[in-house]
Every structure is written in structure tokens, then in C-alpha cells.
Symmetry: C2
Subunit: 157 residues, 2 copies
DNA sequence: GATGAAATACCTCCCGC
DNA sequence: GCGGGAGGTATTTCATC
């Protein structure tokens, strides 16, 4: 994982439709070695998948909700059941176990309040939670799937 | 945007490397009309981009932090300056303006606490904030870039 | 929308440096 | 490690039904 690999990933994280020849130009390589690097990055699992991103508004998914969950069942069985249900509900797109007073943080993408309520009901029916608090998104100011690779003083310190 | 389009998007949101011929098979279409639909979905901006996703652990980005920000400057100039700085910092991957007591919610991806502190300092140096509260992610239980298209009772009601 | 075929472009892997 | 080039394959655009 040298600097050229990071440059390749920086480009591919923004646009993966580019021909390898064009990608090679941008990172200052010729086609073959560039292609080999991309292949290796896939083999090594650095690149996990290649996907299309969609416009939520265009598919009538205009509401994003962050849900904070507190539980009083701090055991493996509960967590397994919880993990299962959140993976089964596609509207729950992200789930994080947190430090601090909130146990879990969920990002939920739905059409409207009714859609959110349906997900909420399915969740609390499937698993016991101590407290649920919902925070609604008014405006998406930034949303990126690209991880930071070059921007900061990573190892310049 | 009929059901076939939704099936195309569901597949492409998970794997955009499939040949059109294979995609066509999965959605029950032949190659040419399937290709035309994909092209139209791109033209119409339903598909916004095609990207690779990377493994954060493999690139030494082991810490995710959610940052809650409260401001006392509720005006356009402040918001523009805030939006500018968060877009400039690649470690700040998502930014949402929220309803309720928290004004903004940020997702920040960094190597470690030091990395987070560096971002934090850059942020508060660039823009005045009233209150900042950081919540650290212990475990990523689910992370998906795929929007829910079929899973729920969208228009079955 | 399906089929088949043709031209183009790209991917893949051989080679030598 | 790099670059060049040949061959196979996928994409893209025609027709036609």
C-alpha cells in the first residue's frame, strides 16, 4: 500500500467506471501495472466491492432518521437477535455499537414518517429495547463513501 | 421506475461489476433492453455514481466518531462557512443538519484518537461552535450503501 | 421488448525490459 | 518493479420480428 495505490483508490472511490487506461494516466502509470495493482487491491480485500449509488430523492426516500437505542440486556444472545433483525430490515442501512450512554446508533432511510414508524414497530416487536430516541435529518450537507487516504497528515508527523 | 428498474438497482447496488448479460438474466430480461434501462437510469440521475468501497481496517482507519454539534450562529453565512470546511476535510465523511437539540451530526473516519483530535482542532479553528460532543464507535454491526427498494410495503398499502 | 449480428472498446495475460 | 502488444470477451449499436 504505497502512495500510488492510495491514488488509485482515491480515484476509484469517486468513479469506478473509468477504463484502466484512463485511471493509469491519472495516477502516472501505464495500463498494465495499473491493472495489476487494481487486481491486487481486490484480491487483498482492500477493495471490498464495486457498487452504484442512487439518488434517494429520485426513489422517493426523502427521510433519514438517526435512532439512538439503549438496552438493558447486555448479553450475547440479545446482541445476536438485535444484529439479526437490523440486518433483515433494508431500511436500517447502518448500525453501530457505541461507547457512552447510547448503546446503539442506527441510520434509517425511509419515504416518510409513516415509513419510519413501520420500521420502528418491526424493530421493537422483534427485540426488547430499554429506550429509543429518534433524530430526524433536515438536510444532507455531505455524504461520501470515500475513505480519507491522502487529505491529512497521515504519516507526515 | 417500475419494478424491473427496482430489481436492476437492487442488484447493482450490491455488485456493479456484473456483465449486463448476467444482470439481464437475474432480472428476467434480455441483454439489450436491460442495457437500455441501466443507461436511462444513469441519464435520469437515479444512479448518481459508480464507486469502489474499501475496507477501513485495511487502510488503517480503525476509528469512527459521531460528532454532535450545537451552534449559536443560526444564519446563512455561518452555515456556508461550516459547509465549506466540512467538505474540505475528507475525514468528515457525512454531515447532516438535524431537527431537535443537536444542530449538526458528523461522521468522522480516522486512524485513531490522535487523528480525530487533529480533525477536531481543524474544525473548531475554522468555525465557531457552541458545543461539541463526540461519540465513539466500538463496533460496526451493519454498513450498507444500498437504499431500500423492495424490502418493505412501499406501495402495497 | 426479444433476438442476432456486427463494430468497437476494453480487459487479460503473454512477452521483453 | 515497469511497458507493449496480441487475443478473447464485453459492451454498444445496429438491424429485424
Amino acid at each position: 500500500m504505497d502512495d500510488i495505490d492510495r491514488r488509485i483508490l482515491t480515484v476509484l472511490q469517486e468513479d469506478a467506471t473509468l477504463p484502466v487506461s484512463e485511471l493509469a494516466k491519472r495516477v502516472g502509470l501505464s495500463t498494465t501495472p495499473c491493472w495489476k495493482r487494481v487486481q491486487k487491491l481486490r484480491e487483498d480485500g482492500v477493495i471490498t466491492k464495486q457498487v452504484v449509488l442512487c439518488d434517494p430523492a429520485k426513489m422517493d426516500l426523502k427521510l433519514t432518521v438517526f435512532v439512538e437505542i439503549r438496552t438493558n440486556r447486555h448479553n450475547d444472545a440479545w446482541l445476536r437477535k438485535f444484529a439479526k433483525i437490523v440486518r433483515e430490515l433494508p431500511e436500517i442501512v447502518d448500525v453501530y455499537r457505541m461507547s457512552g450512554d447510547v448503546d446503539y446508533l442506527l441510520r434509517v432511510v425511509v419515504r416518510d414518517i409513516e415509513g419510519y414508524d413501520a420500521v420502528y414497530r418491526k424493530l421493537i416487536r422483534a427485540v426488547e429495547v430499554f429506550d429509543v430516541s429518534s433524530r430526524f435529518v433536515m438536510e444532507k450537507i455531505k455524504y461520501s463513501t470515500a475513505l480519507p487516504l491522502l487529505g491529512s497528515d497521515d504519516d507526515a508527523a
